[in-house]
């Protein structure tokens, strides 16, 4: 899949002296983080030019293990910090990693505004349908009826479809993979990195510790199997709509480049340079 084998990749792109990471056994975040690193490798970015930004949450611990310029910000604000970085130095490749809570609960506003501006940031959400870091409260993506410590009688909140939200707000590249569909996930991130504009890739993750346990989803392997059996690629569904029934759609949902924000700003600056 990649030009670098697994261990070489680990050695090259991770801060191995910081490992093992703090995630629980079987946590999907580790697998998803690997897809990010493999995509960076495949696209061939220079490590010094890559900035990885996150908020707060289990998922947001990822940048600490990744050997780039890394920034672990405050809860929900990663995209706003990232916007400042990209504006200040548009040459940097800015990648944002967030959890479902981080990106769509407290951070929902920054998500829709970064998407609206179409600023060149590749945003990857590790969506485990729960607040992992704080011990299993429901998030804006926890399915209706599921259980969580703050939804002891079943969740009555409707869940966001993060990809539709991002696309509706203006993201120019949108896709969804899962921890199980790691190769697809990697491919989507690669294309997101290549898109000059706001790219949004949702990675369905799994939290055996909280979401899994509260909702009797079995161990990490069982949760992987669930993705295997219940996801179907949008391309398949486009041809055979009935195959999409009661399934989770994955794949590339939207890819339609538009003027990028910092390039738009550069046009103004250039006006004064002549």
């Amino acid at each position: 899949m990649t030009n670098t084998n697994c261990n070489e990749m680990t050695q090259k792109y991770y801060r191995v002296d910081r490992m093992p990471h703090i995630w629980c056994p079987g946590c999907g975040h580790g697998t998803l983080m690997n897809t990010v690193v493999r995509a960076i490798d495949k696209v061939g970015l220079n490590k010094d030019d890559v900035v990885v930004v996150s908020g707060i949450g289990c998922s947001s611990r990822a940048p600490g293990y990744m050997d780039f310029n890394t920034l672990h910000t405050t809860h929900g604000r990663a995209l706003a910090f990232a916007t400042g970085i990209k504006m200040a130095n548009p040459k940097l490749h800015v990648i944002v990693i967030m959890g479902d809570g981080d990106s769509s609960a407290i951070g929902g506003n920054h998500l829709i505004h970064a998407a609206r501006r179409n600023i060149d940031i590749t945003t990857i959400v590790f969506n485990n349908n729960i607040y992992g870091m704080t011990g299993g409260q429901f998030s804006p993506t926890t399915p209706y009826g599921d259980f969580a410590t703050t939804a002891p009688f079943g969740n009555i909140d409707k869940a966001f479809d993060l990809c539709s939200l991002a696309q509706g707000a203006g993201a120019t590249y949108v896709g969804r993979g899962t921890a199980y569909h790691a190769p697809l996930m990697q491919k989507l991130i690669e294309k997101g990195l290549e898109n000059k504009g706001f790219s949004f890739i949702e990675g369905l993750s799994l939290c055996p510790t909280y979401y899994g346990r509260k909702n009797k989803k079995g161990n990490a392997f069982k949760m992987h199997s669930y993705f295997k059996d219940n996801c179907v690629d949008i391309k398949v569904v486009e041809k055979n709509p009935e195959k999409g029934e009661n399934k989770i759609l994955i794949g590339e949902f939207y890819n339609s480049p538009k003027t990028e924000y910092t390039e738009g700003y550069q046009v103004i600056i250039d006006k004064f340079q002549k």
Binding site: D48, T73, A80, G84, I85, A88, K91, F272
Partner: protein, 382 residues
């Protein structure tokens, strides 16, 4: 033909932008709010013309976040706001303090609390400027009292931020922000501009949060080859989170100490007719101009009164206030709030002489007469 000596009529908020540009500000992120909005508007106008960047963010939370990002990417960064926005910025101001990211936050104070009196002057955010975010942290705030000073102290705010890698608050008030008076823009040769210390070592030897002797670590910008980690968790010298209690405690102590122990370097104040003053008025910002006027009036009646005007509001100028108290018979702290700066003056000076308050919170500037009245008990100016 004209004999203006290089002065022109400029609004306080505009002078702030001029100062920022002179200091090297190249990134502004903000969200409009009265009475600070002109700072954003003028920045939007001027920055792209010199290759700088302006962005209007979705709110103040994002604005504060964006300037931290901009600073990390290497540009001197600023935002401006007023009370409600300043409240919203607090979480990320704490982040900048802990992660040691230089940046300047301008708060043009208006009447509070809450939406309060949006177009009226006040000095109600004095204590908030020090204590607004959670946890112990360093705080630096400067309070100009004229258009010229707004220009000068905006430059100093950037210099201090860069030198000590910490957020610096320029605490203006509506009076100063919106008034127009003369400003002399200085030649760049006359301006001292300080830039953050860059790493002197190779990337492989870079320990991002290892302080030099001045307690301040060297700062690489993202993209310069020094790949390091920045976090709002307590961290060790490498910048990575630590669970070690003592390392955590020492980090917080250091970021506070690097400011408190260098206080002499960031001490700015003015003394007015203090030589033989027995009564001392402590005032700052817009109110200090009323105080000066009142002092002139009272001096005409042979009342020995002078003013100590802190320009550096935080850290508190304990030494100077102590000296003042040593000589004074009585101190009045005049402010457009219910007595905030008073508390610290009373703590330090109150051990030596009586400290009294002159307060006003109705959205109007304290007048010279009000000060005179308070000091003389209405003996003159009836």
């Amino acid at each position: 033909m004209s004999n203006n000596n290089g002065y022109k009529l400029v609004q306080g908020n505009e002078a702030c932008v001029e100062g920022a540009l002179a200091a090297g500000m190249r990134f502004y992120a903000g969200y409009p709010i009265t009475p600070s909005t002109e700072i954003a508007e003028i920045s939007a106008q001027k920055l792209p013309q010199i290759g700088g960047k302006f962005i209007q963010m979705e709110d103040e939370l994002a604005s504060m976040a964006a300037i931290i990002g901009g600073s990390l990417a290497g540009l001197k960064s600023m935002t401006a706001t007023s009370g409600p926005g300043f409240s919203l910025m607090q979480e990320n101001i704490g982040y900048a303090a802990l992660a040691e990211i230089p940046c300047v936050i301008v708060n043009v104070q208006r009447g509070g609390p809450s939406t309060g009196m949006p177009t009226s002057p006040a000095q109600g955010d004095i204590m908030q400027a020090k204590w607004g975010t959670h946890g112990d942290h360093p705080s630096i705030s400067l309070t100009p009292n004229s258009v010229q000073e707004t220009y000068e102290y905006t430059i100093k705010a950037f210099n201090i931020a860069e030198k000590y890698r910490t957020p610096v608050v320029l605490l203006m008030d509506e009076t100063v922000g919106h008034m127009r008076e003369k400003l002399k823009i200085k030649d760049s040769s006359e301006i001292e501009v300080i830039n953050r210390k860059k790493p002197t070592c190779e990337p492989k030897d870079y320990v991002a949060y290892r302080p030099d002797e001045d307690m301040v670590p060297q700062m690489a910008s993202f993209g310069e080859g020094y790949r390091y980690h920045v976090t709002g968790l307590t961290h060790d010298e490498t910048g990575f989170p630590t669970n070690n209690n003592d390392v955590s405690g020492k980090l917080v102590q250091r970021i506070v100490d690097k400011v408190e122990k260098n206080i002499d370097d960031i001490t700015y104040y003015e003394e007015y007719r203090m030589e033989d003053a027995e009564i001392v008025i402590v005032a700052f910002g817009g109110v200090s101009r009323a105080a000066k006027s009142a002092i002139d009036d009272m001096r005409e009646k042979n009342i020995k009164v002078g003013m100590f005007r802190p320009i550096t509001i935080w850290p508190f100028l304990e030494k100077q206030i102590n000296d003042v108290a040593q000589k004074a018979k009585e101190i009045y702290v005049a402010e457009m709030n219910l007595g905030q700066y008073f508390l610290e003056v009373d703590r330090v000076a109150g051990k030596k002489c009586p400290v009294k308050k002159i307060n006003k919170i109705n959205g109007e500037l304290i007048t010279p007469n009000e000060i005179t009245y308070a000091v003389t008990g209405g003996a003159i100016n009836d």
